[in-house]
């Protein structure tokens, strides 16, 4: 049998260790999933507060084939009519994107680490 005092010391030690190795809550948060919808030849609002590791679901509500293509080539999502596709944000920074078929359709992601 372990004496109570000893058990208490272990518990206290564990708590202290948890605090010491703890990292800010935000970084522990699970990756978020956002949706960007294309409608009437336009990209909808892009999420604020994007972080590397988050997911974006691109949804094409148009009757036309589109793409979501990064100007820096870090992603290139093909979006047939009424299709959707999910990608994981891999790169931080400001990433401009457009539709290769309709280059007037543009937007940009701002991604934190």
């Amino acid at each position: 049998m372990v004496p109570f005092g000893y058990r208490a010391a272990i518990a206290a030690g564990a708590m202290a260790a948890a605090l010491l190795i703890g990292v800010p809550g935000e970084a522990l948060a699970a990756p978020a999933t956002y949706t960007v919808t294309i409608r009437n030849m336009r990209f909808g609002a892009v999420p604020a507060n994007l972080r590397v590791g988050d997911r974006i679901i691109w949804v094409n509500r148009d009757i036309f084939r589109h793409t979501a293509t990064a100007r820096n080539r870090s992603f290139n999502i093909d979006l047939p009519p009424s299709a959707s596709a999910t990608m994981v944000v891999r790169q931080s920074g400001t990433i401009a994107f457009y539709c290769t078929y309709h280059p007037g359709m543009t937007g940009q992601l701002v991604v934190a680490r």
């Binding site: 009437n40 084939r65 078929y101 280059p103």
Partner: protein, 175 residues
């Protein structure tokens, strides 16, 4: 019905006169507007198919594929809309002029080969989209009464402006 349209031989037309789409006289009805818009779309689908049969230039072929795809999509939507609304598209002189000009243009382009065809096709697409876009913004959209028809025409205008810009970019590369 639009499904029964026969635009055999319809193709793109070069330097379509503004008069062809100016629609003199009373304002066009929704039934006439639907007919004109559909006819204009079918003409560009036919032009795209002609380009796919004749051109070997990857940029030109990519553009032509997109024209067939995008204009077919708009026209499928137009057919679905008028069917749902119970509107029977009405033939009119503007549509007839478009088709006649397209026939002439298809014959003209049909006699050209390789780079000469590519240049003429792209030049025609620029002129064609410029004219159709002018008609959409100046005549067809302002006169459309049904909100859904108006919305479809507006989406079409956004799309066709993209097509015009795309054709202009290709023209600079194949000069």
């Amino acid at each position: 019905m639009l499904r029964k349209f026969t635009l055999a031989g319809a193709a793109a037309f070069f330097a379509l006169s503004g008069a062809a789409l100016s629609h003199d006289g009373p304002h066009p009805s929704d039934a006439q507007i639907a007919h004109i818009a559909y006819t204009a779309g079918q003409i560009d689908v036919a032009a795209g198919r002609q380009a796919l049969a004749k051109s070997r230039n990857p940029a030109v072929r990519g553009f032509a594929e997109q024209m067939v795809r995008d204009h077919s999509a708009v026209n499928q939507q137009a057919v679905a809309l008028v069917t749902r609304l119970g509107v029977t598209p009405e033939a009119n002189p503007t549509s007839a002029t478009l088709t006649a000009q397209a026939d002439r243009q298809m014959r003209r382009l049909g006699a050209l080969r390789r780079a000469a065809f590519d240049r003429a096709y792209i030049a025609n697409e620029i002129a064609y989209h410029r004219t159709v876009n002018g008609a959409l913004s100046g005549t067809l959209i302002p006169n459309a009464h049904n909100p859904e028809l108006k919305s479809l025409l507006e989406t079409g205008l956004t799309l066709f402006r993209e097509h015009q810009a795309h054709a202009e970019r290709i023209a600079r590369r194949i000069r």
